[in-house]
Amino acid sequence: MKVIVSRSGGTAGIRLTWEVRVEEQPDPNTWAEFLNSLPWDDVTDSEATPDRFAYRIRCAPHEVVLAEPQVNGPWRDLVNRVRAANGM
């Protein structure tokens, strides 16, 4: 099981991708529970606005695209955790 966060856009237009392989984490069960608890099916489309980030989050079978203002609550938590696991 792995989760991939890809951030595109921003005024730089540079795409950065962070990936976590759950089995390789010190707490894989916590990760799995957290990933399963995310509101994957509740994501709605949002208006594109200039130079904001867009986040594509993949964790098979799920894939969602979030505009930057939508990255809050558990999604914000996920992005922060994935970046932290990648040392950023």
Partner: protein, 400 residues
């Protein structure tokens, strides 16, 4: 998410066989001779564009607001009294203090002296440079053409790697310190963000696919012009870089983008290579970044540089005027694609600087070079002078 009509749906673009009827609705490759002919003819589309652009020259900001897609923002009464002189800056810089709440604490208002915080000072100066370019060169009074106060927030978020225009204000992050330094450091980035506001109040190009890439390119064009104007650099002297100085020393790269040579701004282990194409042959089809708006903007960016390079001098003069009048003149639809924009700039150049003149020619050739229109034929060689008639028997030769 807003989807655009025509070729931009799903961020994909197909190159279709040219059909003039599709000029403004789909992505087509129109041969330049046809564009020239359309510009010369009394085509109703161009006539309307010309009339609309002439109307905009009257600079009736109220009419502009009615036409534009954006709504004016409410003023605080205290800030609009006493009556302000048109063209004067009205800047307010606020400090978010590392939070993501806007606007933050007000730290510098118009006319107050510089403080010790570089981000605040750079934002204040960058907003002023942008107002100065648009007012002195194009007669545009602030973002909305009607003296909208210019507001900015600095120190937004923690290690925030971005700057953006949120529809009402500029927002600047401090960068993460590893890849990016503070986003106020580059006048072209400040001009870029504020130009998103100008576009919002004028052509209101949909931020998806080709119209989105045009929205991005227009911000790069005027961002570059803000920087060149404040540094008094001619086309030959300018770097044509967007975001110069934004990377830390750890990054192998000079800037975010190069308008002169898209695809060459950086080549780094972490960031990879600058992915911008410089012609339509490299057009990137992707679902990320709203259909690659920050990538494919390289194509119209280079077209603008090529116009400036062909004409020489200061890019904010003839090239800047052609782009500004095209953006604000009413000829663009919110879903305009590269071909429609190319036709509109050619029409503007012909109208302002003469049909078949140097500016018109430079615009046509620029779009051909980047592959938005088919290769333009070289000027037809002049017919060689007919050789003197051979002397024929029986015809008296003129006296020697």
């Amino acid at each position: 998410m807003t989807k655009t009509r025509g070729c931009n749906v799903g961020g994909r673009c197909q190159t279709l066989h040219m059909d003039t009827r599709e000029l403004h609705t789909t992505c087509t490759i129109v041969p330049p001779y046809l564009l020239v002919r359309l510009a010369k003819l009394d085509d109703p589309r161009f006539a309307q564009a010309a009339a609309a652009a002439r109307a905009s020259l009257l600079r009736d900001s109220q009419i502009r607001q009615l036409r534009g897609g954006a709504h004016p923002f409410p003023y605080s009464g205290a800030r609009t009294l006493p009556a302000r002189t048109p063209g004067e800056s009205d800047r307010t810089i606020s400090d978010a203090g590392g939070q993501e709440r806007l606007p933050g604490r007000r730290v510098r208002a118009e006319g107050q002296p510089a403080g010790t915080d570089p981000a605040t000072n750079e934002a204040y100066d960058g907003l002023g440079a942008t107002q100065n370019l648009f007012w002195t060169q194009f007669g545009r009074d602030s973002i909305d053409g009607n003296g909208l106060p210019m507001d900015a927030t600095v120190h937004y978020g923690k290690q925030y790697d971005n700057a953006f225009w949120d529809g009402e204000r500029m927002v600047f992050g401090d960068g993460d310190g590893q890849v990016f330094t503070r986003f106020t450091i580059s006048p072209s980035v400040i001009g870029h963000e504020l130009t998103h506001g100008v576009t919002q109040f004028t052509a209101n190009l949909t931020y998806q696919g080709q119209s989105g890439a045009l929205n991005e390119s227009i911000s790069d064009v005027f961002g570059a012009l803000v920087e060149q104007h404040v540094k008094n650099q001619s086309t030959a002297d300018a770097s044509w870089l967007i975001g110069e100085g934004l990377f830390t020393d750890q990054v192998e790269g000079v800037a975010l983008r190069s308008m002169k040579a898209p695809g060459t701004a950086y080549n780094d282990d972490v960031l990879g290579k600058d992915p911008q194409p410089d012609t339509m042959a490299g057009y990137v089809e992707t679902e990320d970044d709203n259909g690659g708006v920050h990538l494919n903007s390289g194509i119209p960016n280079r077209a603008f540089y090529l116009v400036a390079d062909a004409l020489g001098g200061n890019a904010w003069e003839t090239p800047g005027h052609i782009w500004y009048e095209t953006l604000t003149g009413g000829a663009l639809a919110s879903t305009s694609d590269f071909v429609a924009f190319a036709a509109a700039t050619a029409d503007t150049a012909a109208r302002l600087y003469g049909n078949g003149g140097a500016a018109h020619d430079a615009v046509m050739r620029a779009w051909a070079t980047v592959g938005v229109v088919a290769a333009i034929p070289s000027p037809l060689p002049q017919q060689p002078a007919p050789p003197p008639p051979p002397s024929r028997p029986g015809v008296p030769r003129p006296p020697e």
